[in-house]
């Protein structure tokens, strides 16, 4: 009898367990790559067409061949890599500081009712404030220094990160909270074992949005706050405009765009990994 039940259960389990299709990795990469290549080609064609239409002289709006050629030359220059390094150092350090600030504020606000009532909508308000509006104040406070840039990068990114955490905590599924209560999770163990892991997807979304704000604030900052002997991508944009060097301007913009895309792909990969682990990636059809 018991054996029979056991066999039946094993049989049902074997039938019901999901069979995963094996993924063909090169095909998967190609499948993602060709639409992107297609999009890039379309953009290049439109760009060239606009240049050929001669709305603007060549020195104001360079064509893709000139701009990409300029980009190629610059890849071999030390100054260019120095600029990228400076910009990335500012971006990463500013973003890390923003994570620290965002997590502390988010944790406090999600935990304490009074703080939430007081600061909840202020945080959302700050999120919508264009970060460039902070620069005049930042420059008054810190002068034309690195600190002014960091200040604005943190102000741009931290509210999104804090909000991501708060939303994650708020949207912890009630059924899991009940299960956690029955399992004896209280206070710190409740946060450690249930609320923090449950808020991870929303926190990750907050990080991604926070990065976007940090990157924008940083570019605005680098154009406004130019520090001597510190080449950066924003500073190069600024000088390219001053010197009316359109090819160089466009080449720098392409680099800024590419960095944005690469970081977005990294966040996308993290999000996909999370979805796969949690089983949120089941598609219909």
């Amino acid at each position: 009898m018991a054996v029979e039940t056991r066999d039946q259960i094993a049989g049902l389990d074997a039938l019901e367990i999901q069979v995963k299709a094996r993924r063909n990795i090169p095909a998967a990469i190609w499948g993602r790559l060709w639409p992107m290549l297609l999009a890039v080609s379309i953009v290049l064609v439109i760009w060239e067409a606009v240049v050929l239409a001669e709305f603007w002289p060549e020195y104001v709006f360079a064509g893709p061949v000139t701009a990409l050629g300029e980009l190629g030359t610059r890849l071999g220059e030390g100054e260019f890599w120095h600029a990228v390094a400076t910009t990335m150092r500012r971006a990463v350090s500013g973003f890390l500081l923003a994570i620290l600030v965002g997590v502390v504020i988010g944790a406090a606000v999600s935990r304490v009712k009074l703080l939430r009532a007081a600061f909840g909508s202020l945080i959302t308000g700050l999120q919508t404030m264009p970060s460039i509006a902070w620069f005049p104040l930042a420059i008054l406070l810190f002068g034309l220094t690195e600190n002014a840039i960091t200040f604005v990068v943190v102000l741009g990114a931290a509210p999104s990160i804090a909000n991501g955490l708060i939303t994650g905590v708020d949207y912890t599924p009630p059924i899991l909270l009940r299960a956690g209560h029955v399992l004896g999770l209280r206070r710190i163990s409740l946060y450690r074992h249930l609320i923090l892991p449950a808020s991870l997807p929303s926190f990750l979304a907050g990080l991604k949005q926070g990065w976007a704000f940090a990157w924008r604030s940083l570019m605005a900052g680098e154009i406004l706050v130019i520090i001597a002997n510190q080449p950066s991508l924003g500073e190069q944009l600024h000088y390219a405009r001053e010197l009316a060097d359109s090819a160089r301007l466009l080449a720098t913009m392409i680099v800024i765009l590419l960095i944005g895309i690469v970081v977005d792909v990294l966040f996308g990969a993290a999000d996909n990994a999370l979805r796969r682990r949690w089983g949120l990636d089941q598609r219909i059809g």
């Binding site: 367990i17 299960a179 074992h193 949120l280």
Partner: protein, 245 residues
């Protein structure tokens, strides 16, 4: 001394004119080792009763005694944590043990529910019935004397449900658990319960307490189960139709 004792328990939701009396003076006991099924139509407050016993909610009046017993609960949904593996979910209930003991104990419990081969899977990779068994293993990991079950098999297909009835019966006997099992399925209640407690709706009160003296193991499709289930269904329908008038 019963394992669970509810004494004149009432529960009111809300205040003033919009308040809702969910439970009205419910008294009920379950002995250690006794399988009690709570049966009723919608709105009879059967889930409320379990929540009160589990401490997820407080009664408005009356007392609930469990003599300091450890209480575990299973819900209609498996309520597993999606970021943990199957074994991780069970181990969460074993936090007080050290790592090695925890792992051993979780493996034993997964064997009890016949999921030994699925320890490293994640909840979403399992079927509904398998998830509910993980949930059962997690509840057992709490070394509880009292197991509260809120329609745990309601969302499963008939065949899986039958098998889980057999399994639950075996585990209940081996561990001498006191089980409070909420269901709206009359046959399921008769199949499993030592007693079937029938509740009225809005407010919930105990209207009948049937002792089921059929020999175990019972089959859901057997004539004896069907006969008693039929009697109880008649009584349940009377109670439900009272609300239509």
């Amino acid at each position: 001394m019963p394992a669970v004792r509810l004494d004149a328990v009432s529960k009111v939701y809300g205040r003033g004119t919009t308040s809702l009396l969910a439970l009205d003076q419910v008294s009920l006991t379950a002995a250690q080792g006794e399988f009690v099924c709570l049966l009723g139509a919608s709105g009879c407050g059967k889930s409320t009763m379990l929540n009160l016993v589990a401490g997820l909610d407080r009664p408005t009046a009356g007392t609930i005694e469990t003599g300091g017993r450890q209480i575990a609960m299973m819900f209609q949904e498996p309520a597993l944590f999606p970021w943990l593996t199957v074994t991780g979910n069970v181990e969460l209930a074993l936090r007080k043990l050290d790592r090695r003991k925890r792992r051993e104990r979780a493996a034993e419990l997964l064997d009890v529910v016949h999921l030994g081969g699925f320890a490293k899977k994640r909840p979403h990779e399992l079927s509904g019935g398998m998830r509910q068994r993980v949930s059962l293993a997690r509840a057992l990991a709490q070394e509880a004397d009292v197991l509260l079950m809120d329609e745990p098999f309601g969302a499963l297909d008939a065949m899986t449900r039958d098998l889980l009835h057999d399994e639950l019966e075996r585990i209940w006997r081996e561990r001498n658990l006191a089980i409070l099992f909420v269901t709206h399925n009359v046959r399921e209640a008769v199949r499993l319960g030592d007693r079937v407690v029938l509740l009225s709706s809005r407010p919930g009160t105990v209207i009948e307490d049937y002792a089921v003296e059929l020999e175990r193991p019972r089959r859901t499709e057997s004539a004896e189960v069907a006969k008693l289930a039929g009697e109880i269904t008649v009584r349940l329908k009377e109670e439900v139709s009272r609300h239509g008038r």
